[in-house]
């Protein structure tokens, strides 16, 4: 091979190498963009899920209150006080119902939190209260069937986005 021939082969190789570098750089950029979009989609869906979960929990027969056998727009505090045990015993089922939520609890503002459920400051339903993640909350009406009284509570969900 002459020097000129070697030079031309070298130029061709260089063009291909530069082309490949640009191609790979473009693909990396493209995939990063696509990955960001998919992550954003995931965040949007999780956001929708947690918001939807708040209304799902309020409507679940496990927590819903009733007066004279007819369901009302409130949560039954007696059910809430025992639900943690029921949920623990059926963890797998509730893990799939609550999805990615890491903690679900109801706070009752202004209570001192002693042993009696009527004065309880918090009803833990699922997972842990403390941890990382966004908190979604909605006010709920709590009904204490044996006391025949209502209180205001705040249903909170903590979930990673």
């Amino acid at each position: 091979m002459t020097n000129k021939g070697q030079l031309e082969t070298g130029i061709t190789l260089m063009v291909i190498v530069i082309f490949m570098v640009i191609l790979i750089a473009s693909l990396i950029l493209y995939f990063r963009f696509t990955y960001t979009q998919i992550e954003e989609n995931k965040a949007t869906i999780l956001d929708q899920k947690y918001n939807s979960l708040l209304s799902v929990i309020i409507g679940l027969p496990e927590f819903r209150c009733s007066k004279t056998g007819i369901e009302s727009e409130c949560l039954d505090a007696a059910k809430l006080s025992v639900s943690n045990e029921v949920i623990e015993r059926n963890k797998e089922h509730y893990q799939s119902v609550f999805g990615e939520a890491e903690g679900i609890w109801i706070e009752i503002p202004g209570e001192n939190g002693n042993d009696n459920y009527y004065n309880s400051q918090i009803f833990r339903l699922f997972g842990e209260k403390n941890g990382k993640g966004a908190i979604y909350a909605v006010p709920v009406s709590l009904f204490y069937p044996d006391y025949d009284t209502y209180k205001i509570g705040i249903l909170r969900i903590r979930g990673q986005i």
Partner: protein
Amino acid sequence: MALKSNRKGMAISLNWIFSMIAGVLILIFLVYFAVQNTDLFGSVTSKVVSQELDILFSGIETTKTKTSLDFGKNVELRFSCNNGNQILSVNGKGESNLHGKIIFAPNIVESNTVEVATEPWKVPYRIANFVYLWNEDYSLIGSVPMDIDLLDDLRGNGRKVTFKEDFGVGCSVSESTKTIYYKYDRSLDDYQGYVCFNGNDERKKSEFYGKAMLIGAVISESYENFECLKNGMQKKLDIMNLLYQKKSEKMIASSEDNKKCRPEGDVNYGKFTFTKSIQDLEFQNVLKRKQINDKLVTGGCAGIY
């Protein structure tokens, strides 16, 4: 360009061959990338749609409702059931678990619009709301119950479903169609009975309790699917039984309830018994629970449900 005897000619030919091989490889790579990318976006879209449907089902699951879903284009929804867990896939991709929901639907729903409705399942306390999803009518013949609104929505000229009052004859219809045998109880305003999925084949007979299961029996395509969903219902029944048992124990121990709870007769929280299996659900035990709860409530007690 052909191979020549001089050395310069050899160099030009090698360059061309090298460039062509490199070009073909790059082209193959780009075509492969394009195909994979299109496939990826199809999968992502299907996953997003199935997740959004899951959210939608969650939203409507807790209320009694009826609505139409318009996808804007033809969509294929596939429902499969494994040990009470339902899986939904959209256009053959993006499988998602429907998280303990009870959804009655044909195995494959292919349409641009589908009808969705819900109905509570009570025994007599609510266990869950069932979701119904369909895109075709059913030809309902025989003694069709008149007071179930959803049956009117399902009525049309499609697949034949026969209704008969249950006189304890078993699967007696010889035609290979679905037949629903039922009894009605006025005081509970509810139905119980069994479904014969394949004419007089007793092996394809499945019991049901409640309006919600009766409607589900119309839509369910097969005995296997109906039985599989019953596993999911059994799980929910177990959970609700346990919850109400714990609640009644709490009420027994409640000093506040003891102050005012004076039910008539020998009724008390301990008399409230739970039916453990779906197979054993019947008017008699459901009515007994309702009567005990009513007496507790009228006697100033908290009431179990």
